[in-house]
């Protein structure tokens, strides 16, 4: 006997949002640490923050905003039942994710090449405020980067489902939730970019 599959559209979305709230509090905690230490070490934060490349930061901001547009368009395409467009849009988002991670890789490897990484001799011998700044920089952008990778893998899996027709015009909650996760990644970067690259 085959049971008709029960789908709870609103329940799925509510669950996703509740999860996103916990993510918000996770990154909120990291931003809180940043704010408290910025208050304690304003000059050290300024010296350290100016070593980050705002051009790379700005490029990554544009990339992530574009990836979010692409993800939002994928949802619209799914609602219209345009499967090929769904795949193209998710593809665009994943491409942006790869570009973002490539730039992140160059940024991190340049910093590590200059002896700036948590626990490095250079940071240990420098003022404590600078080492706090770079620890927060690595942990915040690191956890954010992890979210970028997870989001891209999630969207690739959803694209596979869309290709096989499991995500379609009458059942697209999986894509909608995947896109919500992706937008959160964008949302967090909207705050990381000015705080770490611009205001110091």
């Amino acid at each position: 006997m085959i049971h008709p599959e029960h789908k709870d559209y609103f329940g799925s979305k509510l669950g996703m949002w509740l999860f996103l709230f916990t993510e918000l509090l996770l990154f909120g905690g990291l931003f809180l640490l940043y704010a408290v230490y910025l208050k304690r070490y304003p000059h050290e934060f300024a010296t350290a923050g100016r070593q980050l490349d705002p051009v790379m930061g700005a490029t990554n901001t544009v990339i992530l905003l574009t990836s979010s547009l692409s993800a939002a368009m994928a949802v619209t395409a799914a609602q219209h039942g345009e499967t090929r467009r769904v795949l193209a849009m998710i593809g665009g988002t994943i491409l942006c994710a790869a570009g973002f991670m490539a730039i992140k890789y160059f940024e991190w490897s340049a910093k590590i090449g200059h002896g700036i990484y948590p626990g490095s001799e250079q940071l240990k011998s420098g003022p404590p405020g600078e080492s706090v700044f770079f620890s927060l920089y690595y942990i915040t952008t690191g956890i954010h980067g992890l979210h970028v990778v997870i989001g891209a893998l999630l969207l690739a899996w959803i694209a596979h489902k869309a290709g096989s027709g499991e995500v379609n015009a009458s059942d697209y909650i999986l894509l909608e939730n995947g896109a919500l996760y992706w937008h959160l990644v964008d949302l967090i970067w909207i705050f990381i970019f000015p705080l770490y690259y611009l205001v110091l």
Binding site: L14, L18, L24, K39, M73, T76, L198
Partner: protein
Amino acid sequence: MNEQSHHIIGYRKLTGIWLVLLILTALTVAITRVELGGFKVAAALAIACAKAGLVIAFFMHMKYEGRLLRWLLFLALVTLAIFIGLTFFDVLYR
């Protein structure tokens, strides 16, 4: 929570939001290149909040969601604000 109330946001509207987000990003970069002192942080954060609002309202469809989700979002943001507010109440007046 009936199923037929799903709002579809058009491609044009999404592209418009994206353009506004890019303009706001350029504005943040411009405003932080000027020497404004402590005001710089406040201005950059205000613009970031506006950008976040646009992403949540349109890309994340929150503008078209029901009351429950909107109140839950409000509750999450208030919780975050209380965390940050009470921490600074301690840090600033220690």
